[in-house]
Symmetry: C2
Subunit: 136 residues, 2 copies
DNA sequence: TCCTACGATGGACGGATTCCAAGTCAAGAA
DNA sequence: TTCTTGACTTGGAATCCGTCCATCGTAGGA
């Protein structure tokens, strides 16, 4: 049984066949899928599921904090089911692949070879997100 | 006289009226404009300049490392002419405004109040960009 | 079982960006 | 200076992501 489905149910998330399939596609796996990929996988089990429904479900899972959105620079956003444990991302600027990393210490200082997973890291970006004075 | 234009010329960047205007719009100012804003400002001086040309020029400036792209989650990318000095970004999740910050120490640890510029910071993202093993 | 508010559908729509084929021009050569 | 040519520009079409909307369906409480 899935932890994710369990949690969603307990939080009063109205369960439908479509939402269940979307949650199942994301659950477990530590892959970072695009909305389109989620839709494709969901459609294998529920052929009539619509793109809009997948976008809705993903948006809600993000709002609930169960899934994180990762933007990959111009490309389609990717959805990270591993939102509950803090971690950082390694993004390929060519193909958009994402991998999770858990570097220790100051991310701007050295990034241990052992954590690079074979990537050729060329830059580190730190972004603080929040509300600006006039929007707050 | 502009440092940026100077450098570009020295690096053998073929100079055209359009490219000069785009570079001039970005130069100096530490604002973070969208491609459309750059186009609008460029068009004030060169009314016939096309959007495609602006996109081309921006892409080249990014490739040359003179300008940095900042993606703001779903919204249009913004272009940061301050690419030569390392710094981080504060992004408003509501209106997309961007401000530069230069925090010292570990970005994941505390983020000094004095650096927040009035923002209500809700999360910090660290992204390592580069090439994955199969693209490298 | 019945109700009804919430969810699903899919096609139209919109913004941002890229593509393309044709025309134009910067800058080195003569 | 003029010539030449490859690089640049143009603008409209095309693409990619994502959202909207009116309508239909259904989960889950009464």
């Amino acid at each position: 049984m899935s932890d994710l489905l369990e949690r969603l149910r307990n939080r009063g998330w109205r369960m439908t066949a479509q939402r269940r399939v979307v949650a199942e596609v994301l659950d477990g796996d530590h892959v970072h899928l695009t909305a389109d990929e989620v839709h494709a996988r969901a459609a294998r089990r529920l052929p009539e599921i619509s793109r809009a429904t997948v976008y809705n479900a993903l948006g809600e899972l993000v709002a609930l904090g169960e899934v994180a959105e990762v933007s990959t620079d111009g490309r389609a956003k990717r959805y990270d089911p591993n939102a509950r444990r803090p971690h950082q991302h390694l993004v390929c600027s060519r193909c958009g692949t994402i991998r999770d990393v858990h570097p220790s210490g100051d991310p701007l200082a050295g990034f241990p070879e052992s954590e690079r997973m074979g990537f050729l890291v060329s830059k580190v970006e730190v972004t603080y997100r929040g509300l600006c004075p006039s929007c707050a």
